[in-house]
Subunit: 463 residues, 2 copies
């Protein structure tokens, strides 16, 4: 353990420089979904490469049709040729920042702020995922500084398209299977703690299916006085379609949608009940009070093990100041489905599109634009490294670590399994109030600090 | 009649300079609903004042809390002190121009274009309403040039807020009742021909009620992975509300909505049937084929004598490029109702708001923003000037003139009745394919030309 304690002390002593490095990265507006920020994504990739190179990692930014992949390799200690080989994954891209007027500070001018709940790093990407993956890189930096080498062989793999459907990811992995299929396990740092102080290893991830639909009626916007009452209004058609996607009990009505949705095992149900999740407290953080999902399901089921259908955006007609008495020619919506178990994203996409087409009245047409389709992920905890990591995390935090689910989609874990046949262990230190994807995103300094320490412990445990 | 013929000849000879003057006016982007164009609205008002002054009219732009009112007075011929006193109304403001990318040419760089259907004036406001009211001003110009005086006493009244709910109109009329309550009849030029060649005097106008609603759920946009399934989504709530506003037969479900909606008299029903309105042809112009209104109603009823409820715009969440897996905090819609008979706009507003509030699930709030409320208008044709004008119009056009309805709202006629006790005669020369409120708005040169000639004939007939 003295190996480890020296590294932990080094992490404590070097917290401020580590924070400074994170701030540099947070100043790069690497919004992957908006083509206007392509150059910034390249800058972020190059910045990460430089960090890895400073650890002695053989790293480079590999070009793709989209944003670059950051890839790096480094051996373990020379005196331990049989050390395990781990792969680490993170993403250097971030979400868009609108609505900008709801940010208290510019999203890409990060700050350390003291709040009633403690010290936080404020800025887009501080938690998702720049602050998170830097906990691992900084843990490696401390280990290297203390011991001159890392405790195991490592492959680094960071992408820049996680927030925009990862279009280049699968082709890149398939073209480089030989390079990436050798690790014993992949470590993914893009998840959170459970509650405030319970470290979590995420073993269930929901999949994601994205669809954009545009309903077209008249061939141009019309005067609602001249045509109102006789002309088809596509905004009304779209509203009818969206309203029909859920029944009165909150179940999704797309035919066949629930094929492959499993019930929880009694064991997992008991484990989750013991976590003492309080929906009112969870929702209270965002100004809500009551679970609004499927009737008869627990709060954790709603966010971890049940599928969803949500409207992420919709728009039609005149949306500016004042009023315009227009009948819109078009109405559009961005709709996403969170998937669980063995739900088939492509089958659901076809069923959804067929359902929409069936609801179209005369004189209306629909166009569909796909936005990603990834199945749910399930991690096998058979590998003994899972239990070793669980114990290591329990040593760092007030509460014992738990195996949990995650409502979000981290398709990478599924791709590592299906393409590389490498299992993944998801460990992260985000908190529920980090405002991911929202204005004023933050990451607690405590999470950043204990996150670095946690990774040092996990590396020591599995090495 | 030689009085008249000399004026008609003058109008024919001076068509080109009249077109040039209209082009000057069309170059002023007087969009009243957008505060960014306030200065342009003032410029348009000053331009109209200068035109009236050039006719010897005592005219000025009177300030209001919004955009100016253009007011002018001129006496009739000195040798006929008993000539009638007419008031003329038009509006110098125009609709917004988005979506801008659907315009073939910049909306405020007007052009004369030769099309398969004849020569047109292309540009925002060419038909609604700048080109229309200029037909009257140019008819007066010709009359003055030929006879040295106008055939009757005239009061000019042009507003700049017609496309944005006319907030200053009623207060202005009430403050100046003495000045405006003396005319025998008001002439309003903001309507159209029936079909291609049938001049029309509009005797029925639908009212308009505008409402903007914003549904709020969570206190910020949420990550749809973390909260999807448990958190209320206001976009889904809004869609449900909009979908519920019509039943399967196309009737509007707002309680009490149809109070005061009259059935057509057998006489008017026969007159309208004789007009040979073809819904398929009318809708074919805009890429539609089937009437989408109330079951069991004729096409003309749907657009002239039946009330409507339409979505003019709606927006929520992420509407930019790509995809953002966000649960929106807010969802908004601009909704308008076209009213007929004696429907009470304020009673309907309250009933609509109560219905929306009743549909709100837990954790949702709604905010309402009113956008104008005007009842339907019905013109009494008892005044003999109506029949004189009908005959005069029939002399100018291929088909005999008809008394018709109008689906649009021209609240001014109602205000002239209720505030000034002055009846209105609505005569205009727009065509169904003028693309009012849409990209590429146009006005046929034939309509501009025969419109000027029509006004000369009407003035001669009623004088």
């Amino acid at each position: 353990m003295s190996n480890l304690n020296a590294v932990l002390s080094r992490i404590d002593a070097e917290l401020d420089p580590a924070l400074d490095r994170l701030m540099d990265l947070l100043r790069i507006p690497s919004i992957s979904t908006d083509p206007a920020f392509k150059g910034d994504c390249q800058r972020a990739a190059d910045w990460v490469v430089a960090q890895l190179q400073s650890l002695g990692v053989d790293a480079e930014a590999r070009p793709t049709p989209g944003h670059p992949m950051v890839v790096g390799h480094i051996d373990g200690p020379a005196d331990n040729p049989n050390c395990p080989h781990l792969m680490f994954y993170g993403h250097y891209d971030v979400q868009p920042v609108d609505p900008l007027d709801l940010w208290d500070k510019p999203p890409f001018e990060p700050e350390l702020q003291d709040t009633p709940k403690g010290r936080v790093i404020r800025g887009r990407g501080s938690s998702d995922d720049k602050g998170q993956f830097m906990t691992f890189i900084e843990a490696c930096r401390a280990w290297k500084a203390v011991h001159g080498a890392l405790p195991c062989k490592l492959t680094f793999f960071l992408e820049g398209e996680e927030e925009s459907g990862s279009p280049s990811l699968v082709p890149f992995l398939k073209e480089n299977t030989a390079e990436f299929s050798t690790p014993d396990l992949a470590l993914i740092c893009d998840t959170g703690l459970f509650g405030h102080d319970t470290p979590a290893i995420t073993t269930m991830l929901r999949g994601l299916l994205g669809e954009e639909i545009t309903i077209t009626g008249p061939n141009k916007d019309l005067h609602s006085g001249m045509y109102g009452g006789i002309a088809m209004n596509p905004a009304r058609v779209l509203a009818r379609i969206i309203a029909s996607l859920h029944d009165e009990t909150g179940r999704i009505t797309v035919p066949g949608f629930y094929d492959g949705v499993p019930e929880l095992s009694a064991e997992l149900r008991n484990q989750w009940q013991s976590l003492g999740f309080d929906p009112a407290e969870f929702l209270g953080e965002v100004g809500l009070s009551e679970p609004a999902g499927e009737q008869g399901r627990s709060g954790l089921e709603m966010i971890w093990s049940r599928p969803t259908c949500e409207v992420n955006g919709m728009w039609s007609g005149y949306t500016g100041d004042g009023f315009k008495t227009v009948l819109p020619s078009e109405a559009s919506a961005k709709i996403s489905f969170r998937l669980v178990g063995t739900q088939d994203p492509l089958a659901i996409r076809e069923s959804f599109r067929a359902m929409v087409r069936e609801m179209l009245p005369p004189d209306c047409e629909v166009a569909f634009k796909p936005h990603g389709a990834s199945p749910a992920g399930h991690m096998s905890t058979a590998n003994p490294m899972f239990e070793k990591a669980r114990v290591a995390l329990s040593d760092e935090w007030p509460n014992a670590a738990a195996f949990v689910g995650c409502g979000g989609s981290i398709p990478i874990a599924g791709y590592f399994q299906s393409i590389l046949e490498v299992d993944s262990m998801l460990i992260g230190f985000g908190r529920d109030d980090d405002q991911l994807h929202s204005p004023n995103e933050k990451y607690d300094v405590e999470c950043f600090h204990k996150g670095m320490r946690s990774w040092a412990r996990v590396l020591a445990a599995v090495a």
